[in-house]
Symmetry: C2
Subunit: 336 residues, 2 copies
Amino acid sequence: MSKRITIKQLAATLGVSAATVSRALNDSFEISQPLKEKIKAYAKRVGYNPDRIAVNLRRGKTKTVGVIVPSISYNFNSRAIEGIEKIMIPMGYKVLIFQTMEGYQREKEAVEYLISINIDAVIASISAETNKYDHFDQIRQNEIPLVLIDRTSKYVEASEVVINNELSSYLAVKHLIETGRRKIAWITGPKGLPLSQLRQRGYERALEQFNIPFDPRLICNCTFNTDMGFEATKNLISKNPDIDAIYALNDRIAIGAIGAIHSLNRKIPEDIAVVGFNNEPFDPLISPSLSSVYMPSIKMGEEAARLVLSHLKEKKFLPQKRIFDTNLIVRASSQM
Amino acid sequence: MSKRITIKQLAATLGVSAATVSRALNDSFEISQPLKEKIKAYAKRVGYNPDRIAVNLRRGKTKTVGVIVPSISYNFNSRAIEGIEKIMIPMGYKVLIFQTMEGYQREKEAVEYLISINIDAVIASISAETNKYDHFDQIRQNEIPLVLIDRTSKYVEASEVVINNELSSYLAVKHLIETGRRKIAWITGPKGLPLSQLRQRGYERALEQFNIPFDPRLICNCTFNTDMGFEATKNLISKNPDIDAIYALNDRIAIGAIGAIHSLNRKIPEDIAVVGFNNEPFDPLISPSLSSVYMPSIKMGEEAARLVLSHLKEKKFLPQKRIFDTNLIVRASSQM
DNA sequence: TTGAAAGCGGTACCAG
DNA sequence: CTGGTACCGCTTTCAA
């Protein structure tokens, strides 16, 4: 009734050896068909479920990949995970999901745990808080393939699946400029984040191209949530009342910006246009509907998984880089 | 450089036995302080990370709980997981997250995997598709505590953390009636889902109390997404043009309903009021802002984790039930 | 085609 | 306080 059935017990009741049972259950060609059938049938009947811990220990591999993301509540991450699972599960892999809540400590612990359970590969998106990368180096030192997705670091040797951040950002800002905006604020994330830096470069390049002077007072570093977006926007507008557009690192920040603009009785997009990033599912629903940069999140997850599979085949780890294009989705918040 | 360091290698280089290293690393009281220090220091220096698979196999337990949810992209689930982690991680547990995409097969596989890795406890929210429950019985047969959260089944013996579905639903419909609605459509999920049935009972009870005849043509079973909500609503309204309110099982469906109502050029809430369920973060942002039933998702996750901890302490599994109150958040979609 | 036995990497009991 | 050793449950040579 209770405790787990072992292969030995099966062997005993069937009057064969544990080795034979193991072989039968693993479809070894060296077991006679009738015996194999009999063993399998019996195993099924008693609900035998092999102890994967023992199997993994013995075999030295786990048919498991770990996924580490800042938060599963971000649309990009849950979609990317969907893509990863779509590829890995049919190939017989288990996908273990960990979220770090943007924290370094939890990221480090997740990595160490995954190494300690002999994970086959790791797909990760780096936390905002992370500024040391030794834990990722450990993955590579254990000869475990590592694929970074969306949030990467030049300090980590890994395959990368990213979007063209600079170009995406350039196009978003270009759109704002071409619709008549000149005082475009940029609300971004923590300074260290490569993604922030790349997108800022795109922002600067667009300004430059249209001969709009770069004004550091229009730039604000904040964290990834709506409340911070709200505060940052209030602040920016109070100090620079002539701002006519806000470009935000992501849609959560943009939502906060919209709230702040409304609370200051300014009109969107007439007075101030808003463009976000990530194309969250709620973007078309909010008022005004939010312009945003679409990322092919599921496809990116799938590609990360494919890279994992190819790394798993190769003897030597050869990091690869995949860059995806984005799409600016223009909605009411930036278009009159 | 590469392959993992074992306890034997440590023992060899340090000139002690593997047993001693193990004891030192586990802070056993029977090792002299200086030796312990020395071993620990060396282990840290070479980055020794014990093979948790071997540890788990030997110890027979894993300090790990599994969480199985229909989809991590549902706000309720990601919040509940947040709550679970808030309690379990500080207690030294790992939390393994699995999503089933509402599928029976994936749910079953997740359960079997968790059993096969000797999980300490399971917290699960049942898939919409699931109508066989033998996999959950297996959990109990292996003497693993099981806590169901939000989506439960009377066929599964487990602790439960739920909301008062019938009452919540009753109050939502009562609100619609009290604001003058009489033809209230109810768009719900798959028929089998207990949650659907309970909420329908609340719906019926409210109608009854106000002497509004129950009309089965105003009820529509659909799946959990926006597209289905859209179709269902179009259908309902075309067949019953005098509908003056739509009450939906969840906010995704409600969003679809809003889209459909707009596409038919009806006004919300003047012509048709809408109330959803789950209070998704985008509810206040959409246009019109969506009335919805708030569920204390993080608190429910925390409570599920606390139940797990108490079950882990007790010798015998005594299923418990925790019922949480909800809050109807009235917004523009149901209030003139 | 099957069985015996070694061993994956740790832990814990038993000696000393 | 430390070492030797059996063993967790399974897989996989090696021998028969």
